[in-house]
Symmetry: C2
Subunit: 721 residues, 2 copies
């Protein structure tokens, strides 16, 4: 099935397509139009009177992006790729293919678009630049392309000047633009309110560099007063700086704002090169934003030949007890500072709070084995944690030497016996050079002991000092680690790394990223109760998140009396996250003893699948609610999740997605009648019933609540219930 | 043989030494004095009225360094390690040991000093800082030490404020301070003339960042009007920024000026830590500056357990023909730019000028083998040279993939057959991260094919962009490469790396550095004819230089008609350099065909030793002349070299260093009567004569000339001459 070309161009543009070598004239600034396969989306390319390339976007006759300028300012002040461009040639094409992701929300993805490729020449410089637009039914992706040419090979970007000219003062779900953190709570406001709200929206972080009162991060979720949902992000961010958006409040134009490196430069380019794709997903139905696979489609196909070793992972970990402050990553309190290679741990007095000790890890292994988890993450296993943070230490970890109370060999052997894998942890403290220096040895060590996945971390300012978490240089580091890991058949779950942009299609060993405010913040003061109704529209657009759900004890002081934080979520909401926050990597974050207290609720975490044949987005409104049903891969099991914002809400869940004629057992985990994320988060009800296709279930979600349902084909035993 | 302690302190200081726990009082600011083993040098430590630590230095009753302040400004503006210090305790000790360098100007080195260790506390902060002074007969070394302590662990240096307060407007042999190049010609002037001459002293370089009109580099060679020679440098520069000196013209005080990193910071420190040593070598005899081994003595003993694989190397190379522009490093002119992994060299049209081709390399191997050289350096063997320079390319070389016309396996096999080793070349183009990423693979490749030495290069600005050739971060890179190479039993000859500071004592696989204006500049416009009379007093204080002498064809246009450069040196001067410019790594830089034209002169290069039992500094005046006699290790052969500045000069060379009763054959290579570095550089005379101890030979050195003599015990055949 191949889609046709739905190209509409004015007479001259058509002429240019047919006769490619037509000499440049003022006339070839005529607009070129492109329509999406189903006709809902239309984009138009023009050049301004000054020869600036421009695009605009329409959805079902409503303008979504007004005429918006394109181009670059360069460090070389003699060149600006902004104006004076004429169209050399316009090419069109279309594609309709279906590909199978290794893991994902469904087992096949359709990549269907019409394409417009505009070749430009800047008249006074003879510099050539192309713009490639791909128009899908769910949105527009476009990128800059610099062909091999005489007049421009190497150049340094001062700023990318891509505009997104909006049609009104839309509602936005935003976090402040920042070169070094993505871990802010979302604010929902009108665009023109950003500047007055941004100071309050910037909470303290281990590293942070906000840059503008009107600067926000992507993916940015917008909603117009007419009910059009617009998502702005990027795809295939490789060898380039991460893009932020900066708003001109008067014109309501967002302009790209790249992350600068330590020298203040925003991109070192060598033609032939392309930029990442800039993406605009649009619909009048919020669920379509979640359905969109545009971001993956704009990435390259898988580059890893043998992917047999890449598997989704459900795991527990020696982690939450450190996050809550009950345990420590460090082994001793003896050392005012550590110098690896000089500091002698063998004689140090254990502090008694070290989490990653043999006994504790064995208990986690036992727990994981008993309940069918694939892996056990252990943080704080390696020496150096006594002074790892905040000192710009170059040689901060060696990623190889365990603490005296962590038996690397013995624990891996024990885990293997229990059919569980330990998950490696490489916190870098932002010291990227040091990590790269140890990478091969660290990965070899992992292979030696049977680790096949690593969680990486970049807490604190990046080294080299002055560089940022999301600049081109550091993004190249993350990419280097992903590719190096692939060469060792190691899966990567990168924390504090740049937000993903669909590159897991190309490198599916990137099975997770943090890159947003995760569950840990529920132990650092809490996140907004509607946080998880926004993340799927923002952070998850680029790829899965290691959100680490599953908190059953919301009163953190019960874990660590010195920590008065509260997890702003009901227990049912926590369960629903395993469905609503898609990831091939799912943690059960809480302590084993808390799961032991609620074995009926814990059953959902044990049961829920982590890889899917298909996903149905039943209800969605960013900031308010989200209901998703997913069918497990190679199974007839369905799992449904609903997360709710602050307002109590009812769902009429129609089970019309089930197979006709089959009977299923639905196990429903829902908020108790008096449940509330703050006052009564542990109030929940579990019930079972036999259900069929078409049945409607009435469900009530509390404030900050939700529900989770597992639906399995009923066996004879079930039908006797 | 252990030296006594020649400590003189005033009464209270003595009291403090004896009773270490005496409480701090104003009185313990009493001066502490230290005298060198032979009594010639005296230093005095005091604190100023404001509690600033100070030192001063006297040589044979003449003050050399006036009272000079010590301390640091920190990035944390709340702390300045400048004033308010009181002396806690003064410790003294002495050492007299002899150690055997693996290679060097002599086969044993005496390390003999008296030491003063002053423990200080800053009263208002309770910060502890110590100053360790080591006073040798040839000078003073001192460093800062930060003990483990509560009040100061991690700190960032804004500037090191060490002063060198001079006693007059001395004559200085200086090059401009610069964060990215050391390749300037020396200027000889009064100190107060530096600021007016510096602009003219800064010649263009591939990377350069001068910072002050009165900033100069170390090692700095000074001469007072009374004829005292003073050399200022540093020792054991590890994990610290390289020090420059900045002059206050009115007070004639030099102050340390560290090289900043890309963030403008000058040092990330973690106690316990020491600074490098600051060194002041002093004598009223210029030859003592050359004799001094203080810089090595202040470095740590060898840290490489097995050093059997480290050997001095005499070599030729496919190099001068690229430097002169006769050949190219690049293989093709087809590519406007190269992207490694994408650019396909297999179909590229060879440019016909590529130096490192199989046929050429074989000829060099044949030549090396025929004339007894150990190695053949080949530059431009690996892909990437088409656009390697000036583009801040991150992935610029892979250090592993040869050009299509370079048979890595075959050539190494051929070299082995001919009992010669190929020398590896790793030009990094300043892209340090890329080099580190490939280092293991590149070194493994070397071992696979039998390479045991690498010449590294850092031409152009450093990556990460904004960082400098001599900052702490980049210095750590050079050190990382040295230590990594040692782990592969590979010797390193680092070009464009930070100037050496004696660390080859600790890591003797660092057999050479460039780190100054080398012979290549004779093909880039020429160097001053007296350049080589200065380098031994400056650049060579820290370690050997890969100066690449041996140019026989001074008219570069004879090699490449498009290059009108002239080598400002007579042929005899070029020969003398093998003696005067000590290095365990000596190249014969010129083309084989030029050596074939002068086989009698070439004989000296073939004969000269590269490792020594002892060295005698017969005559020396920086900028003017230098005569050195060296006895080869494990041999009775002597070699004498003289290099001369611009003024014609006569030497009465007394052979009183020879063994009594033996007859020797002296082969004398001297300037022809009409020789002149500019007008007649190839005029030379070779003569042989039988000589004995005590004999005096009259020799005349032309302008920019010199002489070289080999003196071998005569055999029967010789005595028939």
């Amino acid at each position: 099935m191949r889609g046709g070309i739905f190209i509409k161009t004015l007479a001259l543009a058509l002429f240019l397509i047919q006769f490619e070598n037509v000499p440049l004239t003022a006339q070839n600034t005529a607009p070129a139009e492109l329509t999406s396969p189903n006709g809902n989306m239309t984009m138009r390319f023009t050049t301004s009177a000054q020869g600036r390339p421009q695009y605009e976007l329409t959805y079902k006759t409503r303008q979504v992006i007004k005429k918006s300028g394109l181009g670059f300012e360069l460090k070389d002040e003699n060149i600006a790729l902004m104006e004076g461009f004429v169209v050399d040639k316009v090419e069109t094409s279309s594609k309709d293919e279906t590909w199978r992701p290794l893991w994902g929300e469904e087992d096949q993805i359709r990549n269907h678009y019409n394409e417009l490729l505009v070749h430009l020449t800047q008249k006074n410089t003879d510099i050539k630049m192309s713009l490639r637009f791909r128009l899908f039914d769910d949105g527009l992706g476009f990128r800059y392309e610099f062909p091999q040419q005489e007049k421009l090979t190497y150049f340094v970007i001062k700023e990318e000047m891509t505009e997104f000219a909006l049609t009104g003062d839309h509602t936005a779900h935003w976090i402040a633009g920042d070169y070094d953190t993505q871990e802010y709570d979302y604010t929902t406001s009108k665009l023109t309110e950003i500047s007055s709200l941004i100071k309050g929206a910037i909470s303290p972080n281990a590293s942070q560099t906000p840059f503008s009162d009107t600067g926000v991060q992507t993916a940015l979720m917008l909603k117009t007063s007419e009910g059009i949902y617009i998502n702005l992000h990027e795809a295939a961010l490789i060898d380039y700086a991460c893009m932020h958006l900066n708003l001109d409040e008067r014109s309501l134009v967002f302009r790209s704002w790249l992350t600068p490196d330590g020298n203040g430069d925003k991109g070192y380019m060598q033609a032939p090169r392309t930029s990442p794709w800039r993406t605009i997903i649009v619909s009048d139905d919020a669920r379509d934003i979640l359905r969109s696979r545009m971001t993956y489609n704009l990435n390259e196909p898988c580059k890893i030949a043998d992917v047999s070793w890449i598997k989704p992972v459900k795991y527990v970990g020696v982690w939450w007890e450190m996050i809550t402050g009950k345990s420590s990553w460090s082994y001793t309190n003896d050392f005012p500072s550590v110098q690896l290679g000089k500091t002698d741990y063998s004689k140090a007095k254990p502090n008694g709070t070290h989490g990653a000790n043999n006994e504790k890890v064995k208990r986690y292994i036992d727990f994981a084995s008993k309940h069918g988890f694939d892996g056990v993450l252990v943080e704080g296993w390696n020496i150096g944690w006594e002074d790892w943070f905040g000192h710009a230490k170059d040689y901060v970890f060696d990623f190889q030497t365990p603490y005296p109370d962590f038996d690397l060999k013995g624990l891996n052997k024990y885990a293997k016996k229990k059919k569980v894998k330990l998950i490696m942890h490489h916190e870098t403290s932002g010291s990227t050079r040091n990590y790269e220096r140890h990478l091969d040895d660290a990965f070899r060590l992992m292979k030696e002991y049977g680790y096949n996945a690593v969680k990486t971390g970049y807490v604190g300012p990046i080294l080299p000092i002055g560089y940022h978490h999301y600049d081109q240089y550091t993004n190249n580091h993350y990419q280097y680690v992903i590719e190096k890991a692939a060469s060792y058949q190691i899966m990567v779950n990168a924390h504090e790394a740049v937000r993903p942009t669909g590159i897991a299609r190309t490198y599916p060993n990137l099975i997770g990223n943090e890159s947003a405010r995760g569950t840990e913040f529920q132990a650092f003061g809490g996140s907004k109760p509607n946080h998880v109704t926004i993340l799927p529209f923002t952070r998850l657009i680029g790829g899965p998140m290691d959100y680490t759900p599953g908190v059953f004890e919301m009163d953190i002081s019960k874990i660590n009396p010195g920590n008065n934080s509260h997890c702003n979520s009901t227990l049912a909401n926590q369960l629903a996250l395993y469905v609503t926050m898609y990831s091939p990597l799912q943690m059960a974050a809480d302590l084993p003893e808390n799961y032991d207290r609620f074995p009926d609720a814990f059953q959902f975490i044990k049961d829920v699948a982590i890889d899917w044949q298909k996903s149905l987005y039943l209800e969605a409104e960013p900031g308010s609610y989200l209901t998703i049903a997913r069918k497990a891969k190679n199974s007839n099991d369905w799992f449904v999740g609903n997360v709710n914002g602050e307002e109590v809400r009812n769902t009429k869940l129609s089970l019309d997605f089930l197979d006709a004629g089959k009977k299923y057992v639905a196990t429903i985990y829902k908020d108790g009648k008096d449940a509330h994320y703050k006052t009564n988060p542990q109030s929940y009800e579990v019930s079972k019933k036999i259900v069929e296709k078409g049945e409607v279930i009435d469900l009530r979600s509390a404030s900050g609540g939700g529900f989770a349902i597992s639906i399995k084909v009923a066996g004879k035993k079930d039908l006797k219930m």
